[in-house]
Symmetry: C2
Subunit: 215 residues, 2 copies
Amino acid sequence: MTGQVRTVDGRVAGRRGQATRQKLLDCLSEMLSSSPYRDVKVIDVARKAGTSPATFYQYFPDVEGAVLELAEDVAKEGSGMTELVAGRSWVGKSGWQTSEQLVEGFLDFWRRNDAILRVIDLGAAEGDKRFNKIRMKILNSVTGSLTESVKELQAKGKVDKDVSPAAVAGSLVVMLAGVASHQKGFTAWGVKQAELKPNLAQLVHLGITGKKPAK
Amino acid sequence: MTGQVRTVDGRVAGRRGQATRQKLLDCLSEMLSSSPYRDVKVIDVARKAGTSPATFYQYFPDVEGAVLELAEDVAKEGSGMTELVAGRSWVGKSGWQTSEQLVEGFLDFWRRNDAILRVIDLGAAEGDKRFNKIRMKILNSVTGSLTESVKELQAKGKVDKDVSPAAVAGSLVVMLAGVASHQKGFTAWGVKQAELKPNLAQLVHLGITGKKPAK
DNA sequence: TCGGTAAGCTGACGGCATGACAGGACAAGT
DNA sequence: ACTTGTCCTGTCATGCCGTCAGCTTACCGA
């Protein structure tokens, strides 16, 4: 799958090359955390990495290209979130636990990678197919599993037939993502960090099962 | 409230001035719809408006300054969304109707202004206080009303005491906003436009009242 | 040990956006 | 026609972009 890393002009990157490449990515990631995406300049990233702009262009076509690389990494990590839902129960107390752990895990993931996720979100919203694909990959890990959960509950007659599993799952995941990226908004809003998670978990449980959780 | 419009160097703008200023804003708005925020350049906006970059700088400190102006306009329009919730019933069939109309109105508003809302969202997520304030103003119109609704239901004993009205209201609104800005994602996801709205309405109703709606 | 070869890096350059300024164009009133 | 204040633009220094030729470094086989 992952062929060897190549420079823009087609050479294969060796040890040293991969190191500087990675350093550039790390610095870019830092910059994204500390300054608005719009203001991130190639020259700044290069300077921070102790190299020259020309070197940057040897490994990436432009800033966006490098960001896509970072995004792929995040996507890879995000795929692991399937485990937060897959094969878990949605009935009784364990159902409530599933819900809580999903919220916890998801928010945690988002907070860990918020800078890049912001950019992915923007790119996707602006209609960029590459960013959209990456965003899908990340959210799919959770949405896919959740959709399955709803379908199973429907099959057992525990959820109304007229709900669309994918629509509900997608909406809930988008909610989690939105809350995660605007947590500051909530605090400025009078909502304490501590009460946010349980309320989210409650909403998720309600949405998936249609019933209040048994705590 | 709205003092007279002023240029960057302090002069008051006359008729002609306000016209070109508005034209610049319109062109900027168009550009935001058609190309990524990061790539919107002053020179392009000016060209599109049939004027020079220098003129742009007479009315706005930079692109961001102009965007903030657009954002304020959107915020003003968004304030009207209070009516989608304020004073409406959440019981019985009218409760379901309230929920449906809220979803409908909110999605509509978001779609009408998606380009600027994207930028506001990004700015807010990046921690810019001005954008955060504007975002709050927009969302508050709905969240505030929803919070009141939940509080009332709580007072009547129809909703559990341990839910945080603000947390629930905020989360639901964020969900609506998220879904609105990534609708393409949902279709690519196998969810049809038509089934999205009722499912969202169901989630909103569930979240607010804790019960399935009576359709 | 010694080239040979490919990887790795950078100085330098034309091109373009930025943002500031001074001065010209224009409209309105006298 | 003259004045006044608004409005616009040509021009310029500055700084980033993206590319290329050419230099340095590392590896390898003879």
